[in-house]
C-alpha cells in the first residue's frame, strides 16, 4: 500500500516537473482574429466559425512539453478596461493585429502602448502577431512592427510574427518562440 502511494507521488512529481503550467494572455482589437488563433492552436475542426467574444475564452494547449493556459480576452472596446484583471502572473503576452486594417492601426497602437505601461506586465515578454497575411492587402510584419513601435522596446523580450489564423500559418513559429522564451 505504502509503496503504491510512494510510486504515485513520484509519478506526480515527475509529471509536474516536465509539464510546467504557463499563463498566456491573448489580446488585441475586436476582429483581429484572437479566437480563431486560439481555436487553431487547440486544433479544433472549424476554427473559422467564430462569433465576437463577449467575455473571454480559455483553452489548455500543450506545446514543446509545456502546458499553456491561453486566455483569449474579448477585444470589444466595452470590455478592454477589464483586460488588466487577467494580467496577474502572465508569462507571455500575445498581441494580435489585423494587418489588413490600416484604418485602425492607430487604435491598435494606442492599446498596445497602454499595455506596455501596465505594472503587472512589467518585463513580460511580448509577441505581436501580424495576422491575416492570407489577404493580399495586408501589411508585412516589418511594417506592423514599425507602426506599433515594437522596435523601440528595450525593457523586455519581444518578437514579431507574421501569421494567418485562417490558414494556420505562422502559429507554430509563435509557439516555438514562446516556449524558448520561458525556458530561458
Amino acid at each position: 500500500m505504502d509503496m503504491e502511494m510512494g510510486l504515485l507521488s513520484l509519478l506526480r512529481k515527475l509529471r509536474s516537473s516536465s509539464d510546467k503550467e504557463l499563463r498566456i494572455v491573448l489580446v488585441g482589437l475586436d476582429n483581429s482574429g484572437k479566437t480563431t488563433i486560439l481555436r487553431q492552436l487547440a486544433n479544433e475542426e472549424t476554427p473559422h466559425i467564430t462569433t465576437p467574444t463577449a467575455g473571454f475564452n480559455i483553452k489548455s494547449i500543450s506545446s514543446n512539453n509545456l502546458n499553456l493556459n491561453v486566455w483569449d480576452l474579448g477585444g470589444n472596446a466595452k470590455i478592454r478596461p477589464y483586460w488588466r484583471n487577467y494580467f496577474e502572473n502572465t508569462d507571455v503576452l500575445i498581441f494580435v493585429v489585423d494587418s489588413s486594417d490600416r484604418k485602425r492601426m492607430s487604435e491598435s497602437t494606442g492599446e498596445f502602448n497602454e499595455l506596455l505601461k501596465d505594472e503587472k506586465l512589467k518585463s513580460v515578454p511580448i509577441i505581436v502577431l501580424a495576422n491575416k497575411q492570407d489577404l493580399s492587402s495586408s501589411m508585412k510584419a516589418a511594417e506592423v512592427a514599425e507602426l506599433i513601435g515594437l522596435v523601440k522596446l528595450k525593457d523586455r523580450d519581444w518578437q514579431i510574427q507574421a501569421c494567418s489564423a485562417l490558414e494556420g500559418t505562422g502559429l507554430q513559429e509563435a509557439m516555438d518562440w514562446i516556449c524558448k522564451c520561458v525556458k530561458k
Binding site: 475586436d30 476582429n31 462569433t51 465576437p52 463577449a54 472596446a77
Partner: protein, 330 residues
Amino acid sequence: MLRFLIIPVKDFINKMYFGDFFNSLYLFIRPLIKWFLHRFTNLSELQRLVYGCQDGYRRYKLVERSLNMSKRPQIRHLVYCLEERTSQPIAEMHIHPEIVNRAVHTVVLAKKINPKYHPEFSDQLARCIEAIYGYKRLVTIIDQMRLEPYDSENHAHEHKLKALWNNLMPDVKLEARITKQWQEIGFQGDDPSTDFRGMGILGLENLLYFSREYPGTARHLLSHSQHPTYGYTLAVVGINITHMAWRLLKSGIAKSHFYNLSKIHGYPTVEHFHQFYCYLLYEFDHFWMNAKPNNLMEFNNVQVKFEKAIVKVSERESCHFKMNLSVESI
C-alpha cells in the same frame, strides 16, 4: 390481446436502449426480436411504432431509427435519397409530392402493407417522414444562411441592418453608416459588418426577426443590456445566441423541439428557427439578469450554464420551447 403482447415487449426494448452494453446486445438480437414480434403481432416494426407510440418526437425518432437501421435494399435506398435530397433543399410545394408521398409509397411496397387493411398507416408514416425530412432540410437552409457573409455592397443586407436599428431605436436617427452609435445596440465598433463573422447573414436575420416580431420585448432587452452593472452588448450576445441555436440544430439536440413542433405544423420552416432563436435570446436575458454577473467577462460562464440547462430540457421527449410573451404587454 395484441396490446398485452406489445406493451411488455416494448418496455423490454426501451430498457435495452440504456448503456452501451445493452445497446450492442440489442443490436445483436434485434433481428430475432423483430422476427418474434412480427410473427406474433403480424405487424412490421414501422407499423408497431406508428400504432404504438404517442404522436410527436418519440414516434418520429423511433421511426427514423428504424428506417436508418433497415437492411432492406429499397429502404436503404430511401434513406440514402432523403439524405441526398437535403444537399439542395427543395421548395416547400414539392415536399409532399416529391419526398413524403414517394417515401410512403416505397415503404408500403417494400413492407407489403396493404392500404386496405391499414388505411391509417400511410397517413401516419407520411407525418413521420415530413418531420424527419423537414428537419434535415431546415439544417441545410439554415447552414446556407450562415455561410452567406454580410456584404456592405449588398443593398438588401444594408437595408436589413438599418431596419434593425430602426426597430430597436425608433426615436433616434442613425447619423451615418459608419458611426459609434452602433455600440448603443451592442455592436463592437463603428461598423457592424465584421461582427457577423461565422454566423453570416443568419445572425442579422435572427436579430431582425426578433426586433420586428417582438418590438416591445426587444426594447425591454435593450434596456437590460444598458444596465450599469448587469449590462451586456445586445447585438454581440444575440449573434452568440445565433451560434448556440445553430449548434443545437446541427447536432440534433434540437430535434425533440422541432419534431414536437412538426406534430402541429408539419415540416419546420426558417420562421420556426427564428422563433426558436427568440425563445433562446429572451430566456438568456432572463438567465443573465438572474445570475447577477459582475461584468461582461462572465458571459462565457453564464452562457455555458444556460446551454446546459437548455440541453437538459431538450432531453425530455415532450420538449417544446415556447416564448412567454407576458413581457410584450409592458
